[in-house]
Symmetry: D2
Subunit: 377 residues, 4 copies
């Protein structure tokens, strides 16, 4: 693991997620950008002293030489420290699991995609909400044509933890997320907007072709956006809206997707993720529960326990690790990975996310005019 030392939220999440299905063990780390704190933190997590590294560069170099080297590295640093470590480990021949957004610039993103391609290694991007069983089921139902041709996609991700200038109080999570040097050019847009965008594309299976956006900073003194409102034009004529906010008082982690097609509509929300509303036109809507009646193969694959026993955020996150473990094991064994493990977002989705960020910021600067998003390839 790179990053995720004391005080980090997402590092602990990655560790639980990796452990959940017993497919990974934490054996090496460069957990902090400060070499001493990095080593101390590793020892505290029962990592062997010789694998408690002072930096990601040291770790990549040393692990590459070990016969028992790590199967994969998790990169859970702030955004500006995704590219460097990812490059280093890929070049050291080690599979990479990386937090989102992929990088802070499109150039880096495209470059990294090239490095991944060249390396032939597995690259997983933890757009963790795609690990929810019912998000996968939603995608599967759309793909199977149960909604018919799609018309409208509404996605939103609302939080309120940046309603006040908490970055000024030293809140570690807020400090780096509102600092352009660490977060890149986007605030809420990169932190949660990219999740919303990713899930909308993941479920609809549609590429977003254009965005027209209004990006706002509501909290005085803040340096990056805390509210994003965007119109979306998907390929094939579907039209959407995306709203991401970290100043929506009363919202905790309210990611919600609604998709409407010619034949039916789907609604899912992250805060009560074990239920999916499916409304076929002209019939009463049904509530599909995770792993219950009506569950599809992809939802069952991503479930551990019977319906009615709620799974949550950590289980969804773990699913990405578990699917990547299968991909890695297959690669190591020279066999094809199970199809069910292939839904994890990768570097392609990473590039698309950074292009989305760039497009939204550009549109907002141009008084919300439509901006075309490049195709990923």
């Amino acid at each position: 693991m790179v990053g995720g030392g004391p005080g980090a939220f997402i590092g602990a999440v990655h560790r639980i997620a990796a452990r959940m299905d017993d497919r990974f063990e934490l054996v090496a780390g460069a957990l902090s950008s400060n070499p001493e704190r990095s080593r101390a933190a590793a020892l505290e997590m029962h990592i062997a002293p010789e694998r408690a590294y002072g930096s990601f560069a040291e770790m990549a170099a040393a692990e590459a030489k070990r016969p028992d080297r790590i199967d994969a590295v998790s990169i859970v640093t702030p955004n500006h420290l995704h590219f460097g470590p990812a490059k280093a480990f890929l070049e050291a021949g080690i599979h990479v699991i990386c937090d989102k957004p992929l990088t802070t610039t499109v150039e880096d993103a495209v470059a990294l995609a090239g490095i991944v391609k060249k390396s032939g290694l597995i690259f997983g991007l933890t757009h963790n909400y795609t690990g929810y069983p019912l998000v996968r089921q939603a995608r599967e139902m759309v793909e199977a044509g149960e909604l018919g041709r799609l018309r409208v996609g509404q996605v939103e991700y609302a939080q309120d933890w940046l309603t006040t200038p908490v970055e000024a109080t030293g809140n570690k999570q807020a400090v780096w997320r509102t600092d352009p040097a660490q977060s890149g050019p986007a605030g809420s847009l990169g932190d949660i907007g990219t999740h919303a965008y990713n899930i909308a594309c993941f479920v609809t299976g549609l590429r977003c072709e254009q965005v027209a956006a209004e990006v706002s900073i509501f909290v005085p003194g803040r340096r990056l956006d805390d509210n994003v409102q965007t119109l979306l034009r998907f390929e094939g004529g579907a039209r959407g809206m995306l709203w991401a906010s970290q100043v929506a008082t009363g919202n905790e982690n309210n990611l919600r997707l609604r998709v409407y097609g010619e034949k039916a509509g789907l609604e899912w929300g992250q805060e009560n993720p074990n239920y999916l509303r499916f409304a076929p036109y002209g019939k009463p809507p049904v509530t599909i529960s995770r792993a219950g009646a009506g569950a599809t193969a992809s939802a069952k694959h991503a479930s551990r326990i019977p319906s009615g026993h709620p799974e949550g955020y950590l289980e969804a996150f773990a699913q990405l690790y578990t699917d990547l473990a299968e991909q890695i094991a297959a690669r190591n064994a020279g066999r094809a990975a199970a199809a069910s493990s292939l839904l994890v977002p990768g570097v392609k989705e990473g590039v698309e996310g950074v292009q989305f960020i760039e497009g939204v910021l550009k549109s907002s600067k141009q008084n919300s005019g439509w901006v075309k998003l490049p195709t990923a390839d």
Copy 2:
């Protein structure tokens, strides 16, 4: 009553609403544009034969001369038949209660506003959702500063009854609403988008200064929009989104408003209208019930029965009639109307609604560029 003959949905609603609180009686009508059907329908509703008119013009002229003339006329015709009857009755000295949108053009709307002003008469516009007690409470809470300065307003009105080309099947409601000659230049935008816009302005107390919109027709062969997505810029810097759709499969009459300020957020939905979610920043959200603990004066004023006993659409609609009855009674008696009766939208809101329609259509034609909305005065 003008309009609202056999097969009309909204005519029956107006009649129940008018009767609910025992402030109005239906005594005269020109219920159809066909003179014979008009008279027949009136007789069927137990209107006296001499007041069963063949046309609105005949009715306005005749009623103006009666000593027991009607206190007010309800105009519940398709959109293109609002201006003419409203003008006729106002000029006959009769108060007017008119359905929305006010007219099919801004010119007519402004002209009608002038006629109302000159007449000195009461003019009520049935943006009926403002009659819901908790919508009024929401407005009152915003006005009292309980949310602090507003930042974000998200409003949506989703239906699905036009998912297929039902107008081609002869569905009377669908036929006129998708016919530019009767409905004016807007479909879902005028039918439900104006309600969403009105309620957003009503609750926030903010004027919308600009719109950037994407208007779509999804159903092949349809002549007017069935989906509208709009970015909103309110005065004072608040930013919003408005979505209105009649092809959102699985939505019946899903009008929903969310408003977020520096201090708190509010959420209300029409389909379960007896509850208002209020989330003060940093505290757990509370669920305020209509007329229950935490109800404000305006919510109590608009309630008939204790909390826990749900009121609905008809009661909210009735509230406009009841408040207009008080306004009319006060006017007739030469006294000031009770302050609690003054929240009914009038011709000013009507003009704003038609300007909103015009602005949205203009923006959509200009590839979603921002369009400034004129000030109402």
Copy 3:
């Protein structure tokens, strides 16, 4: 109308309900047990002076003689004043609409049933919750066998307005309801327990054969029960529980019914009454909306407006009046009433309710032993 003067809650409800569908007009009244207040209240409601009576006896006698006599009387007095007026009007040949519980003793109830039978007149008992469209649909679905043979019925009616001794503060509603002289031997049991019992029998179509009950008084000094917990044995082997409470802090008017059969289950709650959950075994549950997709004939009959536009308590109450109007019109015209109008509870259900009260109280006194309920006939 008998009863329902100033300060009464249910009187106003009956008046709105009677007026809603334009089938009744209030033309005569004995609105208070105090003759002067009675007459004054009637005048205030625009009742003609000669029909503003000082007592129900005077009213029954006078109306019986008028050529334009009332079609029906509404009796909305406290429980101890149901029997007398009902008897008087029936003997005067006037149809009766009476609030529940029917009487304060089983003897009176049975006697009244005899009087109704002898009179040949219409007798409606306002167990108003049976007027909700989806309650009727639930009954219809059970009757049609969609649930299969029933196994379990859980019903509850929870309120909290008697959590503290409000009767000591002079609250008029609380004073009579907690006074054995006016309310009879039952408090919450008669006030709301009978509603819960009625709706359970109404929907399941099953007779309850035995009850085993625990009746409690939680508020010190209170003279009648404020909490009732009962096991139920239905005919045919179904088993149930009934809970009624007026000290369940945080509950406003939470009447909720759940019925489970061999093939499916149904759930409905009064506070959001426009939705019915139907769960066929082995399939995901569907949410049926009032008058929407999946609505049955009886639900459509009892609906005024399209689904998504919520109807509430007053509309459900009105439905009983409207159906009774049809029954009375048919009787007056010598024709059979429309089948759709026949679901209104009558004197039979009234007798069953009073027998339920007696059985529960008896069981509770016998340390919750099972008590057999007599068959109604």
Copy 4:
């Protein structure tokens, strides 16, 4: 681990729960009652061959002698195989984590309590629902007097997976649960009724003194109860109801607790466990989210991730393991365990659960007469 071999549901749950917070590792097992299957299953779980035992007796004996012996054993066998293994490991000096119900007879339960007491060892009983943060918060709020003196407690646990005779189809879960030889004298009562009973006592902090019950078998041919309805008398005068059913069509794992006191009420449901409804009398109810605003110390202690990111069943289950790890570590280190770790149910709650089963069955046999429950000590 004892039990939990192939096809077992709860074994896998225990394993994930034990691993979640990185406090336990699975190093030894007797996973099946068949020695060969037992060893094979262990090897498949990467247990070292010498610790892949053929029986629990062999395992207890062998582990007792190892210097690196297991810290604790998890017993996850059918009910009839709790007592034997628990006794064996306790007598071998090994801490025990055991599934519920504790035993199949009160005699065994009391005997086991004696053995635990004598051993001085840690004994955790996996009434896993007490591991939910908001269940612990509910208990803490009751204890702190926020509800005032309690009056009413309603608890229910509804499932539908035994609606049909699935035991006849060979469903492994159903077969043992409906077999008196493996499950003991209780079916749904032992399987889920004891959970409901435990959580009601856990949150209220009240001992249940008496039960009056109706136990039913609805599915023809079934040998153990599939529906239980019970009145409860708690110490201090609070009154309750408990309903447990495995034939409630449309319910998956619907455990729900409602507690009402003089000052406030609380409601919590397992299927959406991240929210707790708290309704102080006379104020609007608040929705407390896990680890969000209003969270108490015990809820924060049992949370891993911020509010809005749902935790679920596995996390709650893990909390018991984590708290037991702390208890065991403290015991091993000769220090007092952290107070926050002491909420895990133990052998006392186990005895109470078996006494509850016995009392309910006795009451039901006595035509639902009240049966006194012995005090646990």
